[in-house]
Symmetry: C2
Subunit: 357 residues, 2 copies
């Protein structure tokens, strides 16, 4: 088993990575009381709910099965979790358990942050994207019709249990979307990892278990390091949003659900790389190198055909990183070195968007 | 001006108490950025919104005017605040300003806790109850059909500005409801204050400005002391809930809005006193003394006629203080000395409820 710790003082927690952890690891020891509520979705429940419930024998356990998909990551779906918790008399000593991908994890974490003003929760991510990104670091929340992840909390789990066996059932499109976030860590802060990913790209696409476990570990290590330095995104943590400002605009414009988050981030990263090359910060060949990796993973290289540059700018103006009316973008000062900047000319942003449309 | 500090390390903040503070105090200095959003309600807006907006000249200010009343303290009303913030492109550097009573303060604070995962907020309480209770201490949230304040966050404001001039427009019923919470501080932890309140009860009911300012200060001092010791209600903070377990049951049973929170707490405190006397912890005469103070303030001495003891127990089972299935009650071990206990026999609780019906 690979294990690392996200170091946040008294809110520190372990991240464990190995096959068969749901069934075999002692993660139920993180449940302090005699009550728990498993939150999952329609897709994951038939696959893994039974084996999780088998581990909770002897406790009073409720289950909430949400509809699957980013379009359900809303306040009103969140309320379904609260309904169940209250109907079943869950107290402030209950533990919520997120079993599923990023949507389930983000909503369960936010429900835990708010239920009776805060109860503990556990992350059991079952998608590559949630394993390397959303389950680690305590960003929780829901979308709003006017913007993604606009309502939420910084709230850390008790542990993150990454059972890599669950990746076997992950659809190809979602797997590729997760790889986009893996590439992100190389691009923003870890050039050796980026080179390693490129060298092992075919094996990763073939879901080689050993390569995957290593890629997940390196991703989590990179994320844990950034989060430990800046839990509440006062500064450096924003680099984790490479490609996300463009990507969120795509997700909002398409109404959540038609593009996967990782797909939107993939295209967004390419836009950020394009802009970085236009600014002379990275070589032209690096944009092509990234495009080639994304293409091999069958990730989208272009934004939706009907999205104008104007629409991008208007949606990006609602980004959480906007400060005093100035758009702040995560760009690549070099390969493996992201920065946050508000000094990019609007015409240059439009140019990079147009270049990819 | 009277001033005290709620001491919570780097989350400490001042509480200022005096007439005319909205118009004259330098509270706008607590707004760090150039954006703000005032959240108020239909009743308060015509009275004080203009004078607050006059203090925000030069900033980009939005206003959200909510419907008045506890029955609107819901997730869906909360979403109205998020709608406005997003429509007006408020960033994570905006400051929310709660102008109103407890409902406005609790919802604004919770909106601030969740909007873009947390923005600063300021409390400008305009009711006696919110001045002495809800605006101080960082408990924020909304109700759920199945329980009061079940969804929320611990989230502290930048400052609490108590403009006692606003009490002049407070309806008599709400004023009395606030006095119930003032009495609570005497009952739970400050016998000299309780005696002072009794000695000055007529003057307080006549809204003598000097007596009121002193009563608010002493109440805030008591609350600040308890909160500083136990911000997240791991233990001692629960004593602030004297009368609230019974009171919340009344509020939930009557559907929020027909009973004021302070009225339900008044009756709940009398039930707690009754039970404490039944247990031999306080003298019989102390129950009568409290009943007499409540009666002078025209506060209710009996629960709703159609509420059975069974209904009380079933609703109280959802209280946030319930632990491992055991109801925990705040009772009076002596006058001016509250304790939290789970060792009261159910029959005795029923007896106290029946005695007051």
């Amino acid at each position: 088993m690979r294990e690392l710790t996200l170091d946040l003082g008294e809110r520190s927690y372990p991240i464990r990575i190995a096959p068969a952890l749901l069934a075999e690891n002692d993660w139920p020891a993180f449940i302090a009381g005699n009550q728990a509520c498993v939150v999952t979705n329609e897709t994951i429940a038939p696959l893994y709910l039974e084996s999780v419930l088998a581990r909770l024998d002897g406790k009073r356990v409720s289950v909430v099965t949400l509809p699957d998909g980013e379009e359900h990551k809303t306040l009103s779906t969140l309320n379904q979790i609260f309904d169940r918790l209250l109907e079943d008399n869950h107290t402030r000593k209950t533990t919520l358990i997120a079993l599923g991908g990023g949507v389930v994890g983000d909503m369960t974490g936010f429900a835990a942050a708010c239920y009776q003003r805060g109860v503990p929760f556990i992350q059991l991510p079952t998608t590559l994207l949630s394993m390397v990104d959303s389950s680690v670091g305590g960003k929780t929340g829901v979308n709003h019709a006017l913007g993604k992840n606009m309502i939420g909390a910084f709230y850390q789990p008790e542990c993150v249990i990454i059972d890599t066996s669950t990746l076997a059932t992950l659809p190809a499109r979602e797997f590729a979307a997760g790889l986009a976030e893996v590439l992100k860590y190389g691009l923003i802060a870890d050039l050796p990892f980026y080179n390693w990913l490129e060298a092992n790209w075919d094996g990763l696409l073939a879901r080689d278990p050993e390569l995957l476990a290593e890629a997940i570990l390196r991703s989590c290590e990179n994320k844990a390091k950034v989060v430990a330095e800046d839990e509440r995104e006062g500064g450096r943590r924003a680099i984790l949003n490479l490609g996300h400002t463009f990507g969120h605009a795509i997700e909002t414009a398409t109404g959540y659900g038609s593009w996967l988050h990782g797909e939107a981030v993939a295209t967004g990263m390419l836009m950020a790389a394009r802009l970085s090359a236009d600014l002379g910060w990275i070589a032209e060949v690096e944009v092509e190198r990234l495009a080639s990796l994304l293409k091999c993973a069958q990730l989208p290289l272009k934004p939706p055909a009907d999205m104008t540059a104007e629409q991008f700018l208007s949606l990006m103006a609602r980004d959480k990183k906007v400060l005093d009316g100035r758009l702040r973008l995560v760009l690549l000062r070099g390969l493996g070195e992201a920065i946050v900047t508000d000094e990019v000319d609007q015409a240059q942003i439009v140019g990079a968007i147009e270049a990819l449309r």
